[in-house]
Symmetry: C2
Subunit: 307 residues, 2 copies
């Protein structure tokens, strides 16, 4: 009888799901809404119902279910409070195993799980130790060492966005501290930097400033945009260098909406990474993420497949 | 027949060695000189001869040999060049296994191995994930996650001393970069900071400045010494906070000659660690190292015992 594995990526608005073969091929992907009512108590039952419906198309045994969650998760699959979903502390893996009868259930933080997905099938293919950084509204991070997610003892491993890169900063980060990477390398951070000393001779003057506009301007040679991109690279390169001095990965993968700007990001980050790194750590590989929104379902299924 | 395990800590001047029981008890420790002649080619044979001599006192089987080396070592026991010993790239574990006939040989970087020793029998007892920082002439680091050394892909994991804590620094670190933790938290770094703006009203004026004198002055209430200690704590607290955002350990262990100053170090480092850390990472445990120069032989033997 055919054997299937399910990858689940729980977000604040939708739950992305994928049905995979036992060789790791994505057979079908789909989404369901994330129902936040009643402290998110419908979310897991909705996932279970949705898997059950798909079994009409894929009759056979479900051999494993992997899940990414937007919050800290301990090594044993316990969610340590997840404000985004209304969840308090409980074992998501035990609960899902009870609801489905599937014993092989693994749960991880969504940024960590996406990093695992990129290593398996995306920009980190061919490596077994990578650091992934996701540049979106915020800055997320995920670290994979020798094929395994670095979870940390409170599920806070890989929180690269809140490493400090500017001890002189006076503005406050969302986390309550000052000078975090997220204040300069997220989409919001890039826009804030661009607005700060905006000059009339820049192409940004008089238009709505977005991270994309900054990178487009830099590619077109706009001097002010180039300065902002340089500052972005300086902070991100420094942060990734500090991370390398801790975990010494084979490669970095850069993803999230901001990474759509492409090669210009790799170039400026690599430059400042190498400037800040000791000899043994220079010249690491830098790649763009490739799986986009599917990284989560790939990484989720990878946790329960090929263990 | 009795079974023994040998822990070896190779330094640039002496090789420290320990004979352990199969329950992990240190039965005897001793030292031999490190002979650096002929590109360090006598070092391993000298170790083997010394173990052989001790077998008269401890007749039985040697079941494992663990070794710490003052340079980068890959996960498979290959030394990736060790300038301190004159060694080029070769597999120390294979070579020692050949020379002794003992199959169970493990080799690690000395700072990483000392961290493992402190976790097993020293300041990190009771934890399985710690970050150790050694404040000596330089600043070394070792990271243990779930009981295993974080080696990194080029053996450069845990190089905490060269994470950057001061992007504005103009003076150059031994590694060639600027603003590394080592420039402020090593014994040398503390002395440099103390000399920089030395005031005539400080107890340090007119005496030879050492790290110990700075901490002694601070304990006696000398205002200038307190400023220097505060700067030391600011940089070390920031660096350890950045490391925590990457690996999220249970605890920190602070060792090396500087740590002899005691509780004053833990107090100032914890203060700045918490100031820099996001909520989930605040209030980690901080401990002083306890094994001193024996941390290396303990950690070395731990690599081959209770695997």
């Amino acid at each position: 009888m055919a054997q299937y594995y399910v990858g689940v990526d729980v977000g604040g608005t939708t739950v992305k799901m994928g049905m995979f073969s036992d060789t790791g091929e994505l057979l079908e992907k789909w989404e369901i809404p994330t129902r936040l009512e009643e402290q998110g108590s419908y979310i897991l039952p909705d996932i279970v119902d949705s898997i059950e419906e798909k079994r009409e198309t894929f009759p056979g045994n479900i051999k494993g279910i992997g899940v990414g969650i937007p919050g800290p998760v301990s090594n044993d699959g316990t969610v340590l409070k997840c404000a985004n979903l209304g969840w308090d502390v409980f074992s998501v893996s035990n609960k899902l195993a009870d609801l489905t009868g599937v014993g092989n259930v693994k749960v991880g933080n969504d940024a960590n799980v996406a990093a695992l997905g990129e290593m398996w099938k995306g920009g980190g293919r061919g490596y077994d130790s990578i650091v992934m950084v996701t540049l979106g509204t915020g800055v997320g991070g995920g670290i994979i060492l020798q094929g395994k997610i670095l979870t940390g003892c409170n599920g806070a491993g890989g929180e690269i966005g809140h490493t400090k890169v500017n001890p002189d900063e006076t503005a406050v980060c969302g986390c309550g501290n000052r000078g975090c990477l997220e204040q300069y390398a997220s989409a919001t951070g890039i826009v804030n930097m661009a607005k700060k000393n905006l000059r009339g001779d820049s192409c940004l003057a008089g238009q709505e400033i977005t991270a994309k506009a900054v990178f487009d301007g830099a590619k077109a040679g706009d001097a002010y945009c180039l300065e902002v991109v340089d500052a972005f690279g300086k902070y991100l390169g420094l942060a990734l260098s500090n991370v390398a001095h801790v975990v010494d990965p084979e490669a970095f993968v850069i993803g999230g909406g901001v990474s759509a700007a492409g090669q210009i990001i790799l170039d400026v980050v690599e430059k400042y990474y190498n400037e800040n790194s000791m000899f043994a750590l220079k010249n690491k590989k830098f790649h763009l993420a490739e799986l986009g929104n599917d990284a989560g379902i790939y990484g989720a299924v990878r946790m329960v497949l090929f263990k």
